[in-house]
């Protein structure tokens, strides 16, 4: 089994979100970047297949040189090698087209990704990649078992779950449940040392055209202060929810 794990390089969840250049660019000043939290579930599941079933695991990112520390971190967690497609990502479709080339050239038969990135939240790259390659695809995946060429997949649906079966090749977009949060890996010292020697290949992009473009950003409007209600006066809360907020 040849696994490709797609890694997004995203601001740490606790980062302050600011924009520059007249609100047209994300302000990365002082921002710590991490592996996209949803991708961590995919990467950890891939490690399991590597250790228990002898799979090889490649990690890939579409981005400029600044994303390499994030790829090195994935190598430190245990991936065998890394690929960086050398282009500043523009939109989901353009990224999916770059990844499709990587999948075709590398002959991967299982592609794991997070269901969305925690920065742009588009939730589109894995599904687009599958459509471009005509691979089977499962979104919001919360469980994955592989036996030979056969996969059993659980996906989260509104109010429950669905179990699906598919042959490889397969693309899944994962989330919590694919592995449990407590089982997520963090790099240890030995992993970090080894990661330095693992191959990180830079490939040139096919420069596909984007279908969308972000023209500006806007921060959430500042919120009005929280109205405090005395604990002995819950009637007042009910009155406010009914008359002012009109939600009950």
């Amino acid at each position: 089994m040849k696994i490709l794990v797609c890694i997004s390089h995203v601001p740490d969840t606790t980062s302050k979100i600011n924009f520059t250049d007249n609100d047209t660019k994300f302000d990365s000043n002082g921002v710590q970047y991490v592996i996209n939290p949803y991708d961590e579930f995919a990467l950890t599941r891939a490690m399991w297949f590597k250790e228990k079933q002898g799979a090889t695991v490649t990690v890939v990112n579409v981005g400029n040189v600044s994303t390499e520390p994030t790829l090195r971190k994935a190598l430190a967690i245990g991936a065998d090698d890394a690929i960086r497609v050398n282009i500043e990502p523009t939109d989901g479709l353009a990224v999916a087209k770059e990844l499709a080339e990587v999948v075709k050239n590398g002959g991967y038969n299982l592609v794991l990704a997070g269901k969305e990135s925690s920065d742009y939240n588009g939730g589109m790259v894995p599904g687009m990649l599958a459509a471009l390659l005509d691979f089977n695809f499962v979104n919001a995946c919360i469980g994955l078992e592989i036996e030979g060429e056969k996969a059993t997949i659980s996906r989260e649906i509104d109010g429950g779950k669905e179990i699906l079966s598919s042959n490889l090749p397969l693309i899944i977009a994962g989330q919590k449940g694919l592995v449990e949060e407590k089982d997520l890996r963090i790099p240890n010292m030995r992993g970090i040392m080894m990661a330095r020697k693992k191959p990180l290949t830079v490939v040139e992009p096919i420069n596909s055209e984007a279908a969308t473009s972000i023209i500006s950003f806007e921060k959430q409007a500042a919120k009005a202060a929280c109205k405090m209600v005395d604990a002995d006066n819950v009637d007042e809360l009910i009155r406010l929810l009914h008359n002012e907020a009109k939600v009950i």
């Binding site: 687009m128 109010g159 699906l164 929280c226 809360l237 907020a245």
Partner: protein, 320 residues
């Protein structure tokens, strides 16, 4: 060209988001000076969509489509878009809709904007306001392709009544093969899901143990709400993972979100920020959640919640 809306059903019934996305599609069609066509699959009562402005409804009736398949459904939407010469397809953001959307976009060679929260700010080029950075910001995205797909974020537009005299047309698309087989579906029925709920009542570690969840369930019951919990609570196994809301759990976009004994870590707030009104009950006046809340009570959940239940029951009896 018309605007095509996909209105989802579950067991033959429309989801609430089906009416929301129809309301939205009607307004977008008005902006563009065109009409709206709504596609639905196995609906028992397609005429319900007239109330929200659906002038024409395409209803597909086919038992082979009882179980959702993203590839097959995306292909049906594509066939409907071609039949109606629609260059803009609008879907909601339920699990099935966002699953099929990327496939649909590639099939139609369309630009795709997800998490859309408002009417287009410009129609040429089509420009959409979208949630981004895990609910901490918005972006404005231009779609420059001929065909376009947009997915409307839950509860961002609301239901807008706009009764029209519509008509329903039966539509019999070709069904393509899919390599994916659904072997079973487990779904809780009769209980409000977090995804569909107008009100969500959520409990945190401040409740001290799973044995104390009775009052959370009772409060949810009075409010017709779904129950949810914070991440530590699901990690400790007090409540099932399916109830975990927050960044890595389920997102919540309800009208009212009541958080009891949840301090409001940034990851939790990222998942619940889309809720319109947030009420926080916490013993700690310094809890970060108060900064993100609309109404707050500093107090012990074990005293406040039972009082709240009692008073809400009185309120409901008086306003029934």
């Amino acid at each position: 060209m018309s605007v095509l809306v996909f209105a989802e059903t579950s067991e033959g019934k429309f989801k609430k988001s089906a009416f929301e996305v129809t309301s939205y599609g009607k307004k977008v069609a008005e902006q563009l000076g065109t009409n709206v066509v709504v596609l639905t699959i196995n609906s028992n009562e397609p005429t319900l969509l007239y109330m929200y402005g659906a002038e024409k409804v395409l209803n597909v009736s086919n038992d082979a489509l009882r179980t959702f398949n993203a590839k097959v459904y995306a292909n049906i939407i594509k066939q409907a878009a071609e039949k109606e010469n629609s260059k803009l397809v609008i879907i909601d953001s339920n699990a099935n809709a966002i699953y099929l959307a990327p496939t649909l976009a590639v099939n139609l060679s369309a630009g795709y904007a997800s998490n859309v929260v408002a009417l287009p700010t410009s129609t040429s080029p089509l420009t959409l306001k979208r949630k981004t950075f895990s609910n901490k910001a918005f972006n404005y995205t231009e779609l420059t392709t001929d065909c376009k797909v947009i997915s409307l974020a839950k509860n961002s537009f609301g239901l807008v009544e706009n009764k029209v005299n519509g008509n329903v047309e039966e539509f019999a698309p070709q069904l393509i093969e899919s390599g994916l087989t659904s072997t079973s579906v487990e779904q809780t029925t009769g209980k409000v899901t977090i995804a569909d709920a107008d009100v969500v009542v959520s409990g945190g570690r401040g409740l001290k143990g799973p044995e104390n969840w009775g009052m959370i369930e009772e409060l949810a019951d009075v409010l017709g709400a779904a129950t949810a919990c914070s991440k530590p609570v699901s990690d400790l196994g007090w409540r099932p993972h399916s109830e975990h809301v927050g960044q890595t759990g389920k997102p919540v976009a309800s009208n009212l979100y009541v958080a009891v004994g949840i301090s409001g870590a940034i990851q939790h707030l990222a998942g619940v920020n889309s809720s319109k009104v947030k009420v926080v009950v916490n013993t700690d006046p310094e809890a970060p959640f108060f900064k993100a809340a609309d109404y707050g009570i500093v107090g012990d959940a074990f005293e406040v919640v039972p009082k709240l239940i009692e008073k809400l029951k009185e309120f409901k009896a008086n306003n029934a």
